[in-house]
């Protein structure tokens, strides 16, 4: 099994005519994702380079294609609007790749999505690589070939991966695949301070997924989400969790690339996160090079 998306998921791309949207729509199609169309206001009725229909609104796209997931590449000033449009049109998995969305826009988006009306909508991102169920469905910008479908893993083991960082996710995936540990689903939750799905949401989904044997969790400095996740793991998660926290050497007060990666007000340092996760029984990877080996050991391989 997998979480959130699978080979039957029908996906549209919002911002399909932009350079990034077009490039990655093609990449997802080549991976085998059921891309069924795209949205660019003003270009409804046309088709893209792959022959996919383009619609003016997400509502029209959903009605015509039955899509339940959307991959968003619209520029930052319009990203919040695009997320809300997707949710309003009945999209259930909204994947916002866009980097650079103003944080106050995201607070407004969260006010809307947190209401009961959108209880069944999952937002992934923004500022994230997306989500992939290897061998089934890729929605995002990650290199597909590094992943290993759970069904192809010779160890018979598969993990779920949750990460705030893009390239560090690839690192974890690669190290698992090299050890013949498959991945059920990998979720890049994004590097912004206010975002959609968080560690806890994904931990619960993986915990309930029968095919997922273990979970790799990659956090970084900034905020207290990893501490909250640690408490949640201790109380609710019964699968082995391997954790790595990036930013042990980051100086306080400096934003380390990601808008969310900053140690401020005595909060958000790496050490307290690592201690909380260790205390919760997680298997800590001290080095980013150890993600795969620590996970393998935790799975008894």
């Amino acid at each position: 099994m997998s979480i959130l998306i699978n080979k039957n998921t029908k996906v549209i791309c919002q911002g399909i005519t932009g350079s990034a949207g077009a490039f990655h729509t093609k990449g997802c199609l080549e991976y085998g994702t059921q891309m069924v169309g795209g949205v660019t206001p003003g270009k409804g009725g046309q088709t893209d380079a792959n022959g996919l229909p383009i619609f003016n609104t997400v509502a029209e796209a959903v009605e015509a294609t039955g899509a339940s997931a959307s991959m968003i590449f619209v520029p930052p000033p319009f990203a919040a609007d695009a997320i809300l449009e997707a949710a309003d049109a009945g999209i259930k998995v909204v994947v916002a790749i866009t980097e650079g969305v103003p944080v106050l826009d995201m607070t407004r988006v969260r006010r809307a999505l947190d209401s009961s009306r959108y209880a069944d909508v999952s937002l992934i991102g923004p500022n994230c690589p997306g989500i992939i169920t290897p061998g089934g469905c890729k929605i995002g910008i990650m290199p597909g070939y590094i992943h290993m479908p759970a069904s192809e893993a010779s160890t018979g083991k598969a993990v779920g991966i949750i990460s705030r960082s893009g390239t560090l996710t690839y690192e974890a995936v690669w190290q698992c695949s090299e050890r013949n540990i498959g991945q059920t689903t990998c979720v890049g939750i994004g590097g912004d301070p206010v975002r959609g799905l968080n560690f806890i949401d994904c931990l619960d989904l993986f915990n309930a997924d029968s095919e997922t044997d273990g979970i790799v969790m990659i956090g970084e400095i900034g905020g207290t989400d990893e501490e909250a996740a640690a408490a949640h793991i201790k109380a609710n998660i019964n699968k082995p969790v391997t954790a790595f926290i990036a930013g042990r050497t980051a100086p306080p007060g400096r934003r380390m690339g990601h808008a969310g990666a900053i140690i401020s007000g005595g909060e958000g340092g790496a050490e307290s996160k690592i201690e909380a996760l260790r205390e919760a029984g997680c298997h800590i990877a001290e080095s980013p090079a150890d993600l795969g080996s620590v996970m393998a050991k935790a799975l008894g391989l």
């Binding site: 944080v103 106050l104 995201m106 206010v194 790595f244 990036a246 990666a261 005595g266 090079a289």
Partner: protein
């Protein structure tokens, strides 16, 4: 983005938040004149404050109380004459170009008032404490109950009842309450309207009772405001307040090429794609006994020219004794990095050891490029994996 205190004060005035009189000056003579103007309005005590972004100005000697025009002139001259060193500036300090000369006020009681974006509630958050004048982090550590938090609906702003709740909990009385409520609501409005990421008024004070203010006046004495870089496109007035002199020259240079570079104190230069991997690479360097010289994220779509510039910026740092390249190609194609390394070797030259670890998209093409160029770049070693690369660069630098 950060702004100066005098710019923050201007914003407070624009949003109707009461502040003491103040003037901005650039010379000792102007400081004298400013003193005389303020003294003529009945304030013999005046504060001269260095306008730099770094915190810790008071302890660094950048904030002085003066009692005469001559003293104002002398103090201004002293502060302007040499770089100001605080715990946030590093030993070289920062040049002071502007001073704020502000009317001194009598203080009955100090409070803290702040705004930030709260990740847990995904909302703007009003933060207040009756322990003003000290760093809020200290209060958070020593007396966390003294900090009040009020999440704000970004579409509705801070409601009156929320502000009253905070004001009464702070222990404000009588006519102080309505003044403070107005200040809080306006600070929240300013925060949301200007896409701020942090706003601190510390201290917010109440003056002793006067005829005009029988319960004292609520005044904002010092303000610090930061803004969301991602929103500057729609905040033209705010963006204009940026002071390039306050930013590290190499960080500005990096920004021109869409690179994220942060200078650190170590000796191993790092060139990485992705913020998380860049941080993890720094950690890896440290784990192998060395210190990173920088954080550098080239991003996913950097051109060969931008990557070559990244090498130049790293190698311009005299502390750099070795360079570690760690790329996991996703959108970024490894062969592009390889070509940039070859071009940097030709145009910049590597006089320090260089260890390259590449994985991901187009890695085979990249390895071929590096293999063909290896005789031309004697300083270069290829790392087979992350640990191998970190060990090799640490060993090379330790041996040098």
């Amino acid at each position: 983005m950060k702004i100066h205190e005098y710019q923050a004060r201007d914003l407070l005035v624009k949003f109707g938040i009461p502040v003491p009189d103040a003037l901005v000056v650039e010379t000792a003579d102007q400081a004298k004149e400013a003193y005389e103007k303020l003294a003529a309005q009945g304030t013999p005590l005046v504060v001269v404050k260095a306008q730099v972004h770094a915190g810790g100005r008071g302890k660094g000697g950048g904030v002085k109380l003066v009692k005469s025009a001559d003293e104002a002139g002398e103090v201004a001259k002293a502060i302007l004459s040499k770089p100001l060193v605080t715990h946030q500036t590093g030993p070289e300090g920062v040049e002071v170009k502007k001073l704020m000369v502000a009317a001194g006020v009598e203080i009955e009681k100090e409070y803290y008032l702040g705004m930030a974006v709260d990740r847990a509630t995904a909302s703007p958050l009003l933060i207040a404490s009756s322990e003003g004048g000290v760093e809020i982090e200290q209060v958070a550590a020593s007396n966390p109950e003294a900090i009040l938090r009020e999440p704000i609906d970004p579409a509705m702003g801070l409601q009156g009842y929320q502000a009253r709740k905070v004001a009464y909990k702070l222990g404000l009385k009588g006519k102080q309450v309505n003044q403070a409520v107005k200040v809080m609501q306006q600070v929240a409005k300013m925060f949301i309207d200007t896409d701020a990421s942090l706003a601190e008024i510390n201290p917010l004070i109440v003056t002793p009772a006067s005829e005009e203010y029988p319960d004292g006046q609520v005044l904002a004495i010092d303000a610090k405001i930061n803004f969301d870089d991602n929103a500057l496109y729609r905040q033209k007035d705010i963006a204009q307040m940026a002071d390039p002199a306050e930013e590290d020259a190499s960080e500005l240079r990096a920004k021109e090429f869409d690179l994220t570079y942060i200078k650190l104190d170590g000796s191993i230069g790092c060139l990485v794609n992705g913020a998380g991997l860049a941080m993890a690479t720094m950690d890896l360097v440290k784990l192998h006994g060395q210190e990173p010289a920088n954080f550098l994220d080239v991003g996913g779509s950097a051109t060969e020219e931008a990557i070559a510039e990244a090498f130049r910026i790293i190698l311009d740092d005299p502390n750099v004794k070795g360079v570690l390249v760690n790329i996991f190609g996703g959108i970024m194609q490894c062969d592009r990095i390889a070509r940039a390394i070859v071009s940097a070797a030709q145009n910049v030259g590597f006089e320090v050891p260089l260890v390259v670890r590449l994985e991901g998209t187009n890695v085979d093409a990249a390895r071929k490029i590096l293999d063909e160029a290896k005789d031309a770049i004697p300083a270069m070693v290829v790392g087979t994996d992350l640990t191998d690369a970190a060990q090799k660069i640490a060993a090379a630098v330790a041996a040098a």
